[in-house]
Symmetry: C2
Subunit: 135 residues, 2 copies
DNA sequence: TATTGTTATACTCTATAACTATA
DNA sequence: TATAGTTATAGAGTATAACAATA
């Protein structure tokens, strides 16, 4: 648990610094990261980021003001707004991931077989949470 | 990188919820987590948490006000203050770690050999950052 | 009635800049 | 001169409670 704590602090610090290089906060970067997989409603975003729905309003407001995301009305439920990554937003998160030097260097220390093992273990340990697949 | 992002978000969410159950913010919890390894100066804490030194003042202020940490003058350098975990603080971080149910459940899915492999890989990937060992 | 998203509020986190004390 | 820590400030993140629109 101690080792996990240290490892994740290293990853999180790396991500925070990389996001700052694009003038984004960690929360804004995490939001783009989630949306990289596809559009998500405000409530799904809040659940995934483990924060209250009311926070997402402000975070998405700032991202939208900078043209990195776009709110779209859901066709199936008029209460819902789906948040979509713009081309600019996609570029931003890709740049951030490419600048996570400590993490990328760390991964490059593993050969292909080790990397596969690592990913498989990560998946088994962390991929049992209720994955929100919201409309 | 996508998988890392998802995995670490899961861990971070788990930690945040567990810390909240002790009425602590994520930053306060991370600070206790660092101090669990031993005392650290304000500047070492800031470096480890990847934040500005001025932030640590407020975070440690609040933790100290609740009796979870203690500031002690360094014997070797009168500018330095070492932050020490109190017995209460130690209890708090141990409780938090014991409440990280998603992560603990995830780890319990691995047998002993797999767990060793996982830890070894984590160490190789993430343990090359300049580890601050400050006085 | 319940849910989605927003607003208002209060507190915490965060970086920058300026400061004091010490090295 | 440089470094450790604090203070002041402004912007961002955070949860709670109350609200409008929709289901």
């Amino acid at each position: 648990m101690e080792l996990l704590s240290v490892s994740l602090a290293a990853y999180y610090g790396d991500f925070t610094v990389a996001a700052a290089s694009e003038h984004l906060t960690a929360s804004q970067g995490k939001t783009l990261s989630v949306l990289r997989r596809g559009p998500a409603s405000m409530s799904v975003l809040a659940t995934t980021l483990t924060c209250d729905a009311s926070n997402m309003t402000g975070i998405v407001d700032r991202l939208e003001k900078r043209g990195l995301v776009r709110r779209e009305p859901s066709p199936s439920d008029r209460r819902v707004k789906n948040v979509v990554l713009t081309a600019e937003g996609e570029r931003a998160i890709d740049v951030i991931r490419g600048r996570m030097h400590h993490t990328l260097d760390g991964l490059s220390r593993l050969d292909e077989r080790e990397r596969d093992t690592f990913y498989a273990l990560l998946e088994r340990v962390f991929t049992s949470r209720p994955a929100p697949d919201g409309a």
